[in-house]
């Protein structure tokens, strides 16, 4: 079965690169432009990984993470923060909330792929 990934980011250019990369890795890719769109998709899909930006309009990354952690059907879903916030305190906060990984922008596409593959296999 194809692995599923949900990419949540409001920067279309970044999303495009990530989408292209993960499709090539044979992932089924879902895209959300903010937290509320992500929550809508999560009603019907159970992705293996959610790649989450923190700063987004409407529902932000922290809120989305909390929702995933509190939803029984998503207990196996891994959450990876991918954000420009790279202060120690931000990273600590993200991990404390239950994120499985915390990656910072700007990133290397190859590195992202290897980190995520490591997480889902």
């Amino acid at each position: 079965m194809k692995k599923k990934i949900l990419i949540v980011d409001d920067e279309p250019n970044i999303v495009m690169s990530l989408e292209y990369t993960f499709k090539k890795q044979d992932f089924e890719v879902f895209i959300a432009r903010d937290g509320s769109e992500a929550l809508e998709i999560l009603k019907h899909q159970i992705p293996n990984v959610v790649l989450l930006d923190i700063m987004m309009p409407n529902v932000d990354g922290y809120q989305t993470l909390t929702h995933i952690k509190n939803t029984a059907s998503l207990k196996d879903t891994k959450v990876v923060f991918l954000t420009a916030k790279n202060k120690a305190s931000d990273i600590e906060k993200g991990l404390k909330l239950g994120a499985d990984k915390y990656l910072t922008k700007p990133f290397s596409v190859k590195k992202i792929v290897s980190e995520i593959l490591e997480l889902v296999t």
């Binding site: 250019n13 495009m16 690169s17 700063m55 700007p106």
Partner: protein, 896 residues
Amino acid sequence: MNNYTLITIIIIYLAVLFYIAFLGEKKSQSKWVNNPYVYSLSLAVYCSAWTYYGSVGIAANSGISFLPIYLGPVIAAPLWIVVLRKIIRISKQHKISSIADFISLRYGNNRFLGALVTIVCLFGTLPYISLQLKAVSETFEIMSDDSGSITTVGLSDSTFYVALLLAVFAAFFGTQRTDASEKHKGIIASVAFESVLKLVFFLIIGVYVTFYLFDGTSDIYNQMSVTPNFKELTTISSLEDGFNWLFLISLSFMAIFLLPRQFQVSVLENNREKHLKKAIWLFPLYLLLFNLFVVFIAWAGKLTFGNTKNAEYFSLFLPLENGNTFLASLVFLGGFSAVISMVIVSTLALSTMVSNNLIIPYGFLDKFIKNQPERNSKYIKNIRRISIFTIIITAYFFYVIFSKELSLYSIGLISFVIISQLAPSFFVGLYWNRGSSKAAIIGILVGFFIALYTLVLPFTLQAYTGTDDFTQNGLLNISALKPYALFGVDFLSPPAHAFFWSITFNVMCYLVFSLVAKGNYRERNYAEMFVDTKNFTTLQDSALVWKGEAYVADIKNVLIRFLGEKRATRALNIFFTKYSLPKDTQLADARLINFSEKLLTGSIGSASAKILIASVVKEEQISLVEVLKILEESKENIISNKVLLEKSNELTQLSSKLKDANEELISKDRQKDEFLDTVAHELKTPITGIRAATELLMDEDDEMPKEIKAQFLKNILQDSDRLGRLIHNILDFEKLETGRLHLDFQYQDIQKTITKAISSISQIAAKKEVQIINKNRHSFNTNYDEDRILQVLTNLLSNAIKFCASKTGKITVDYKLGNELIEVSVADNGKGIPEEDHDFIFDKFYQSKDQNTRKPQGSGLGLAITKQIVEKHNGNIWAKKGVKNGATLVFTIPFK
């Protein structure tokens, strides 16, 4: 004019005054009643019928000698800031209700002194009130064509009824409360109103006479200058005249402080000390205006009537002679206003004195002790009401018996001379703590008798016997005792002469006896308090040096009799809380004694309050040495306390300053951090895009479809542009904020700039199908940096487009001209700005409250830059409040 018409006018006029007083009382807290103008105008109660009619009489007969009566107050006015303020402070603190109370309190609550001051005020004011009634009566006679009806006395004399109506007015509005130290807003409002009327009507008649009946001031002067005696009317010809002037100016200087009605309006009815600041120039201005036409009316009268008419009423005769009954009626009403104000305020002041300093302390105190509180307050009000009626009716009969023969001017001056006897104990007592009650009493008595002997007696004798033997030969034919030329001083006018001798002896007695007979400890206490106003507030409760035994319960009982159970308990609770004493304190100390006396003073006067409290207290006499020692100690205590307090205040201030500085540092630091943080974040986003796309494009193993390749390249281009814009913005902002950006001001047409801005952004708008309307199409040129204002407009417009819905979005650009600025607005019908964000949207990177987690749209610097640019133009920018639909951003640029 028909008698009944005239009476109807009077009654309607009085009804209006009642209504104004009623409104003033009802809206006693409103700004209409409590402002410096009402206060200044109420001081103009000084201008009575004497001013209104008497000045013209004097100007016609004796030339410019009417002026000193107004020069005194004008000289006194600047001093009010110092002297009157001190008096007002003391009076407020001690709930003083009259000048008698004030003087008696200064000399240790001396009961006899209070009574004596009251009697002097009665003697000084009664003839003055009767003078007003005389003016009403005589002007009524002139106005009415049925002149037979007013010569009779009492029930058939209309003046009698006018007097009664005034008494009703004063009794009704003057005794609304038991506490006489409370304000009488209603009366003051009507007095201020009347002050306006009397001035306006007097100016109208002045203009009418000068410019309508005659051909201006120079015409009157030219015609007058050819008449005999002209020179005497216009100059001070000799040294003697100079002395007369000097004494009259001093006399009126004192009167403006001491006349009971002036004390009432200037001290007791003062709401705020700062009102004095306006009064010190407004009141002299009022007097100046009042005297503007006096000479011309007087001369016009003389030219028209010669010596055939009573010169005091020229202002009535002149319009009547020319058939202008309407103007004459206005003049009559103006004079009537002057009368009403004077009579009502004087009576109010006198009745308080009579009840608090004569009747209550000398007859009613025992009764009060036995009575219930409600009955006591009823008693007090009734005593005051009866006093009001008695005073006015006495004044009426005084007029019937004495004043008919005398001119307004001479009665007025008699009053002034008598009242001035209070001056030494009043003024010196304010600044010299040695002044004692004995000395004050002797001084006042001596001065008062000299004034009676040199001024009142000769008048009265002459009126009765018809001869001037007494004036010519003196008492027992001793020429040194001639009433108008005491000890051979024969060059002064009778009032100046009486003033000179009475005040000289008065001052001498006061000084000598103060030095010879020291006051008792109580006097020294109060003297200290009056003189040392700097420490006044700290001294006020604790300054009373007192030794003795008193029970709180007894004192409370006395308080209950006058204030009622509720107020008394509340007052005591406040007192105990203030000094952190236990509520069940049994023995009273000096502070409580002083506090209780003050509480009672407003209702029954300071002398009675002292007597009442003394009746439940076993007071021990203490020696003066002891008093001085205690005073010295308490002074030292106060001083050392003060130093401590100052030091601790300084420390508190210093530590709070440190705290502020620290907080500012932290917040600046945080701001800097946040700014850098956000800048970093903003830069990282496009870099991330570029980096990821480049990496993918560089992967040589990848067989990337052509379209995708193209898309990635396009993305790289977009992100590079974004990066460039951002860096440009940051540099721009930095330049603006550090002040390194210089504007290029040119004379430009704002309309053209707006059009440019709209067209530069029209493509983006068209893409989103948002409509942009340029509302005001007129041209207007002013100085600004066009590039920068274009930047502002473009920013506001692109913001508006961003927040508008596509297709229904509508943006309106408009501009308005103000007096000194041009106001440009950009209004959209988008989602709007939350009210709580209004003040912050111009902060850099501001994105609503939780900006930490929400991504800014655009660079986040646009509005901050916009604001900087507008402010560089000395303009302002803001989001309009209360906009229902969408958002409206407005900025201004000043122009000259």
